[in-house]
């Protein structure tokens, strides 16, 4: 592909958010968006609004919870944190991801040889 930036897959965004919340503790939506931007080293583009869709989905599954708090520059913001269920799910998803990416990497390597 010619473009140097990739679209974020839906499922992967959920996974990234879960991981971010696990690593950094409670964060607001803006913080999560910054963190993903930073970690992806500008490879992934993100309509930052989609973060909120993802957050809603995760809340409905009870993987994360939210509460009102005060941001670093004294603004009222909604902070999201990961739940026990979310932790478990993250472990499962991480393992899944690793397995699949290994398999896909393997398959792609094979094809390259042929």
């Amino acid at each position: 592909m010619a473009a140097d930036k990739s679209e974020v897959l839906q499922g992967t965004l959920d996974l990234m958010i879960l991981k971010t919340l696990q690593a950094l503790g409670p964060l607001h939506g803006f913080g999560i968006a910054r963190r993903i931007e930073q970690l992806s080293e500008d490879v992934l583009t993100l309509n930052e609004g989609t973060v909120y869709t993802s957050l809603l989905r995760l809340q409905q599954k009870n993987w994360i919870i939210s509460e009102w708090g005060v941001s670093e520059n004294n603004r009222r913001a909604r902070f999201y944190s990961i739940t026990k269920r979310g932790m478990k799910q993250l472990a499962v998803e991480t393992e899944n991801w690793e397995r699949i990416s290994a398999v896909i990497g393997h398959v792609l390597a094979l094809e390259a040889k042929v």
């Binding site: 607001h28 930052e48 609004g49």
Partner: protein, 903 residues
Amino acid sequence: MSDRALTFLAKLKALFAQRKADSVLDDEMRLHLEMLAEKFEREGMGAKEAARASRRQFGDTTLLKQRQRELRTTMFFANVWRDVRYGARQLLKTPVFTIVCVLTLSLGVGANTAVFSVMHAVLIKMLPVQDASHVFYLHTSGYPDGASQTGDPSTSFSYPVYRALREQAGLQDVMAFIPMSWSGKTPVRVGTVPEEAAGDMVSGNYFSGLGVGMKMGRGFVQKDEDDHAPVTVISHGFWVSHYGSSRDVVGKTLYIKSFPFTIVGVAMNGFEGTEGSLPSDFWIPLQSRPEFNAWGAPAEQGMYLTRLNLWDMKLMVRTASGVSHEQALAKAQGIFERVAYTGIRQKHAGDETYHLSFNEAKQFDGQGDAFARSLKMLMAMVGLVLLIAMSNVVMLLMARNSTRQREFSLRLALGAGRKEIARQLLTESLLLVALGGAAAWIFALGATRALGSWAQIESNLQPDGLVLWFTLSVLLLLALVFGLAPLRAAMSSGPEMVVRSSATVSQASSQKVRAGNAVIVTQIAMCVVLLVCAGLLLGTLRNLLKTPLGQKPEGLLVFGINPQNVHGKEESIAFFVALQQRLRTIPGVESVSMASERPGSGWSSNDSGVLVDGHKPNGLEPGQASYRKNTVGADYFRTMGVQVVQGRDFSDADSGSAPRVLIVNETFAKKYVGTLNAVGHVLSDPTGHETVRIVGVVKDHKYTSITEEAMPMLWTVFTQEGAVNQLNIEMRVPGKPMAMLPTVRKVITQIDPDMPLLEPMTQSAIFEQSIAQQALFARLAGCFGVLAVVLIATGLYGTLAYRVSRRSAEIGVRMALGAQRLQVVWMVLRGSLVLTATGVAIGIPLAMAAGRGLESSLYGMKSLDVASYMFAILGVALVALLASAVPAGRAARVDPLSALRLE
């Protein structure tokens, strides 16, 4: 809980917090955009540029909001709720349409539910006993000559038969139960007021064998039967009504026929005994006291336990599990054949063998005949009514929805899916059916009660689970039909319809017209069938009502008296003679007499064998001279209002010491004495003993029922007969008979405070009751006929009015081209007359078939009664004419100019 379930719960919760969630999201988005803009500014952008860049990076806020909203909650409820609200608005917009539909449905479905629930209770419902498939009523094809039988011949058995079946037949249980009086009711006293309650004497294994549990206390055991213990089990209903559901009822005393019985148990709720239409209030073990003879018969005629040729016990059996119905029956039959003649005589070769049969343990035993047939006929009639009602509503819906065709095509054009429109229509029809169904259920509850009381069924008939299912499935079917029928019309329009001119729209497709015509023709045909049936049944009722009774039942009060503390022949006769004297002294009473069987109640004593003046009666063999007999008191015929043709009435002088006398009716005199001048002839039994002189001849009059043919009958006076247990007092009073009741009650209480008036009623009511069933069915059939006519009138009117309104453009053109108003009127009328004629032509053969089915229920009518057919045809024609008159008039008033200007 799974993720999916959690998500669904979260969505459900969100349903109630839509607004709040929206504002939270707004806040979050605003904050995010501000922080993003600040970040860009820090990186060196201008304020405006930063704001724009932040919006770009964030994405479309409106789209996000919409997506969040969809994701947040489930759209299903919102959609359904929206459809329901829209449907309700549509129904409110056309209130007349809605009311007509709901009423039509509630009558149609309600009548079906009511009739079905009665049919279910009477013909289908099993006794609420454990494992009812193993329980049977025992029936016999007959009983040996020489046996003395009481009750229904097919369900009466002797004590030896009961014992033998029980001990030898290998059946798991044989339960016996015996009514304690003819009416099934017995005098009882709970507190101080004597009253009547229904009760049976039963075997010790009655409850255990049937498998009926106790609400509290215990059922009977074998020892109770063996000791004839003075204990009783009361029904749940009696416990509630007489003991206020008191917990400490066990151990209390219930006085039955003035004897104290200790209450040992309360039967399970729902069990009302095994007597069918009369729910039992209490049960006692088989008793041996003379006062507790089977059917309340005088003990002088023999006690059921000791006189072995009395056939008066009803039996039920429970077959052992693993034994088939046939095996058990075969075994029981063998025993039965061996013991049937016990106590009567030795069985001879060539004597008839009688056959046992097992009848299923239905709530009502042996309701197989007239009542069942009438119920089935009624069910068919209400089915027809429902069909008419349904097609009516469908036509109304289609008519209404085709005026909505523009709406549908507009919605299709605007991008509504066909699925959405289908859902919308189904929701509307469900709403309509739900409204109609609720009204129908209320109607059915009342109608069932009314049906039960008209049919003289006191046991519980209220709709139960199965009936509810029946109604719900009918309703569901209706909802589908109503939803789907207009769907095709709605779909066929298509989005392009909206741009077409009204002229093309106004042309109803010929296919649709034909379909509508077929429905109307079918309706009219069914209406003819219903009206003919109604006419035949109402004619029957009219014949019944105008049949002369030969007596004057008006102004007569009747009640039974069963003295408790009177024993033996002399004492009992003296008691009733004194009672008659005492009652005569009540001011206003014109005359008092008594009868052992109430005229009109259906009971009759039948006997045969008589000699006239020592010779064969009019040349007949004495044994073939059968006659009816009643034992009455002095002044009987004067009191009843029966004309004495010759001789005299019974009088006080006809005492036990006076010469024995009797009175016969005209048929008896003609048939057996050979002349109407029968006074002075002497009758005797075939052996020539017991001579009795005829002192009077009375006019033939109705005895058991209105429909009977005149039969030979004779009357004797009770003062010259055996002991009397119970007599019915007939009192002729001025004014309303029931108004005399309190005075009579006071007099009777003075004589004996424990003695209730048994079944007090007017003599007219007794005769009315004897035709209550026919009257019930005739009146219901009449109601259904009227209902059908009303339905057809509305259906026809609705359809024609709708067609005329759609054809107003065409009519306008016709008139503009010179058509006369009369021609236009004729055009509309002709259409409806052709439909009516076709419907009638199809309906008549159907009605003839239905009439043949009714034949056995008719009295004094032929099934091809011309008047009924004329009445049906004229009725339908008249209704059709009236229903089309209004639309025809409207067609005539179409103003050609304005009709054309609409184009």
